[in-house]
């Protein structure tokens, strides 16, 4: 009897998905769907929050007041994205604090790109242009994700990400047409961030465990390799436009396919960084953990004060 019910529920669930009807928090959903979403959305939230650090690293050293303000606004947006996404995770019954503890214990992942250091001002350009650019490729299709709260969060987030991408490209453009040392700074940033940006789309389709199921559930709409190709096709002409060289000797335009062909990604590096051995993994997590530990007394005080207030009111 129960068996029949579940398979009936599953059938109706898949039917909704197939008809592009959004799944909402109160709707029945398979456990695996819920788990997949919790994993993906919390990873995304963590990426927004950890992603504040490499850029936060340059706010106090931004070269002029306008750049300082734009960078502050961008990093503030990323914190906002983190908040919407943690709220979206909570609609699935997960606890925000628990998901954050999973990040701090190393159980939960975040985008590996943020484990690379920001060494010069040009990195603020490269991150906006390439990292937010890659994020947009990943996230625009997520605006049509089958899970309602995630899809709606992505609509808001994507508008801001495209602004981030533009300001990053604008920094790169300014540098590329600046002095020889500015141009060299821009090229160096592109050299360091190009490959890690391509890695943001995850392993090749053949290696990707979750892709097919996520496509069937319409969480994902494109495979990793499709998204990576879209990114390369969109970005290479932008680099050419401002006179920078993409650091890939195998890169070439294929007239027949209408796509760029590009070299092999260093997957050893990718997996090492995923495993925690990137240049900044330890620093990033230590920083987040420290922020949480050092903020403990503040959160306790806020709760204690709210309690006192409530008691005084009811007294």
């Amino acid at each position: 009897m129960k068996e029949v019910n579940i398979s009936e529920l599953e059938r109706r669930f898949q039917e909704k998905i197939d008809n592009d009807i959004r799944i909402e928090p109160k709707d029945w959903m398979p456990d695996e769907y819920r788990k997949t979403l919790i994993r993906q959305i919390s990873q995304h939230a963590h990426s927004e929050v950890v992603g504040m650090l490499p850029e936060g690293n340059w706010i106090t050293r931004a070269p002029n007041l306008r750049r300082k303000a734009v960078l502050l606004a961008k990093v503030q947006d990323e914190a906002g994205h983190g908040l919407y996404l943690y709220s979206a995770v909570e609609t699935l019954g997960a606890d925000r604090e628990q998901t954050i503890d999973d990040l701090h214990s190393g159980k939960a992942k975040y985008s590996s790109i943020f484990n690379y250091p920001t060494l010069t001002w040009a990195d603020m350009g490269a991150i906006g242009w390439l990292v937010d650019g890659a994020a947009i490729m990943n996230q625009v299709p997520l605006c049509r994700c089958s899970y309602g709260p995630y899809a709606r969060a992505m609509v808001r987030v994507c508008k801001e990400e495209s602004f981030h991408q533009r300001q990053g490209f604008e920094i790169m453009t300014t540098l590329a047409k600046g002095s020889p040392e500015q141009k060299a700074m821009a090229q160096d940033a592109l050299n360091r961030f190009w490959w890690p940006a391509l890695m943001m789309f995850g392993p090749n389709d053949a290696e990707s465990k979750h892709t097919q199921q996520s496509m069937d559930w319409r969480i994902k709409r494109h495979t990793n390799d499709e998204l990576r190709q879209m990114f390369v096709d969109a970005t290479v002409p932008q680099a050419e436009l401002i006179g920078l060289t993409v650091p890939d000797p195998d890169l070439k335009w294929n007239e027949e396919t209408g796509h760029y062909e590009f070299g092999e990604i260093n997957w050893d590096e990718f997996w090492q960084v995923v495993k925690g051995n990137g240049p900044c993994n330890k620093d990033r997590i230590d920083t987040r953990r420290k922020a949480k530990e050092e903020g403990m007394w503040v959160r306790e005080a806020a709760m204690a004060h709210a309690d006192k207030r409530a008691k005084r009111k009811s007294a």
Binding site: P63, A79, L83, T174, G178, S179, E294, W297, A301, H305
Partner: protein
């Protein structure tokens, strides 16, 4: 004109240096909501600094812009209060510093709206709304932390004790201040001080905190005599402009 330049610089530098200080918090706040709030306040302050230093540069008439004033002066030429250059410390220290400053800035901008200097009056009007929000935010935290747990009470009382000595300088009066007051450009500092006292008394009372017995006062920032901290703030802030002079970014 020289007095006006000096006067605008004082207001602009307060916003600039405090905005720079708050930006150091980015990504390290006790909760994500506070990362957003502190970034937001920093952004408002940097915005004020941009407008004010731009105006100062025009008054100076040497063809400079806000960036050149913000990034290319030496420490003795900065006119900000000692209070705003004090290190962030813990979150309570940052909120206490912010509270003392906001409690000053609100009545200051309220009065500056009526300045005979049209530019300053417009800047004050524009800045007032955000300043009210800043004060609400910082006073709420002072109250929460003061009247929170035993630990938080003790911590923020220590921050109050450490920062109180810098508050008298908020109302610094000298030749410049007096000239601006009598020209109807600057608010009367006595009036601003009495508003500040009211706010501080009310909030500290709610927070169950007390003003320290040691009433020693420090001043110097308005004259360009700073603490050791300013040099490091400038080392970060000016790094790019000093390392790569005269470039567009």
């Amino acid at each position: 004109m020289e007095h006006l330049f000096e006067y605008v610089l004082r207001i602009g530098d307060d916003s600039l240096i405090l905005g720079q200080r708050l930006a150091e918090w980015c990504g390290h706040g006790p909760i994500l909501e506070e990362d957003i709030a502190m970034t937001n306040i920093s952004l408002d302050l940097i915005g004020q600094a941009t407008t004010l230093l731009d105006y100062a540069a025009k008054i100076e008439g040497k063809g400079k812009n806000a960036d050149q004033l913000a990034f290319l002066r030496f420490d003795k030429d900065y006119r900000n209060l000692l209070l705003v250059e004090q290190p962030n410390g813990d979150f309570g220290m940052t909120m206490m510093r912010q509270f003392f400053f906001d409690a000053f800035r609100k009545p200051f901008f309220e009065a500056l709206q009526h300045s005979k200097d049209e530019q300053l009056s417009a800047i004050a009007e524009k800045s007032l709304k955000e300043t009210r929000y800043h004060l609400k935010h910082s006073s709420e935290w002072v109250i929460r932390l003061g009247d929170g747990t035993e630990e938080s009470h003790q911590r923020i009382q220590e921050s109050l004790d450490a920062l109180y000595r810098y508050t008298d300088e908020l109302f610094y009066s000298d030749e410049v201040q007096k000239a601006m007051e009598s020209a109807g450009i600057a608010p009367k500092m006595d009036d601003v001080r009495s508003e500040w006292n009211k706010t501080v008394d009310y909030v500290l009372n709610e927070a169950t905190l007390k003003i320290p017995d040691n009433q020693w006062k420090f001043e110097g920032g308005r004259r360009g005599m700073h603490s050791e901290h300013l040099g490091y703030i400038l080392a970060d802030m000016q790094y790019m402009q000093r390392a790569y002079p005269g470039l567009e970014w």
